[in-house]
Symmetry: C2
Subunit: 194 residues, 2 copies
């Protein structure tokens, strides 16, 4: 029989959710469980303070992305370059694209460039690669993306996200104001909206 370790801390609400759900799931799966209380506090102090300096958490995140890509049948080729886009340039071109109705396609092409082709978001080469797919001139498009109009739209989105209580990316907000944080809340957010 396969086995799973359930490390949990008394005082973690999520751990209580898991504790209350895990029994039928492990039983149905034929998995045995070890209940292992542990002290999460020093681990959080060591690892949860600032993502860029949290080597362990960053390593986990990429592994998680790899697993969840496989789970959803999405290609995953290499560890994308991170952090990215220091000057928010790729974000601003994305804002321009969204304001003109090609935001979704630009986003998907950008993800492909980043995840599958190893481009660094924000690099001129990456933007040229992506924009060429839309027949856009990189120089003109980048100049337009740096206009006051685009800066204003981007700031509007950020302010509205703040008003909805958003604190991370991705977040989903339904039209009745319900906010969901994270890729793992995607289906829940969609079901709520539907």
């Amino acid at each position: 029989m396969r086995q799973i370790d359930f490390f949990y801390f008394f005082g973690s609400a999520y751990a209580c959710l898991s504790a209350r759900r895990i029994r039928p799931i492990v039983d149905a799966a034929g998995v045995s469980i070890r209940w292992r209380p542990f002290n999460v506090r020093p681990l959080m102090q060591e690892n949860n303070v600032a993502l860029r300096t949290e080597a362990r958490k960053v390593e986990y995140i990429w592994r998680d992305i790899e697993r969840r890509s496989a789970l959803h049948g999405l290609a995953y080729v290499r560890h994308p370059i991170w952090p990215t886009d220091p000057e928010l340039l790729h974000n601003k071109v994305g804002m321009l694209a969204a304001s003109e109705g090609w935001g979704e396609d630009f986003t998907l092409a950008s993800c492909k460039a980043w995840f599958l082709k190893g481009f660094a978001l924000g690099d001129r080469a990456c933007l040229e690669h992506v924009l060429a797919q839309f027949g856009k001139d990189a120089t003109a498009t980048i100049a337009e993306a740096q206009s006051a109009r685009i800066a204003g739209l981007y700031e509007e989105n950020t302010e509205e996200a703040r008003r909805h209580g958003v604190f991370g990316s991705p977040s989903f907000v339904t039209d009745d104001g319900e906010m969901f944080w994270g890729d793992d809340r995607l289906e829940e957010a969609i079901a709520w909206a539907a």
Copy 2:
């Protein structure tokens, strides 16, 4: 047609996962989507540094717990008291229980006391309430929980969690060393283990 706002940041890997998955899901659900790039950085700086001082994130977490309790058919009565267990006393009694084979039942009873009855984990009254359900004398049990033996076992669990790269609670580690973080990875962890 219902609508959802998709706030996303270029440079968030999870946002790319969502971006790549969202189209068929929203289409099947009959939900329209707005693609809204935004600047997550100031929001993370404002909210993601230390959970106890992050009012917005803490508020979100309880709402998330409430929604996911409903999703899974679990009762949810009130905002449990948090943070809890300043001296790790409840954790140590949980460690004692785990070491004697009644860890799962003690955990479930503790969650019920915390989530549904409004007890504060770590309080003597809470431990008395829970331990009485097992016919245990609170004074003797708490004394035993504070022994060197229990401290050693608790530290062993914590060290093993650290070795597996754990940085949060709950986390799940399969017997081939795969680590999953969070209640939202529960099913994935179980499937991996199976």
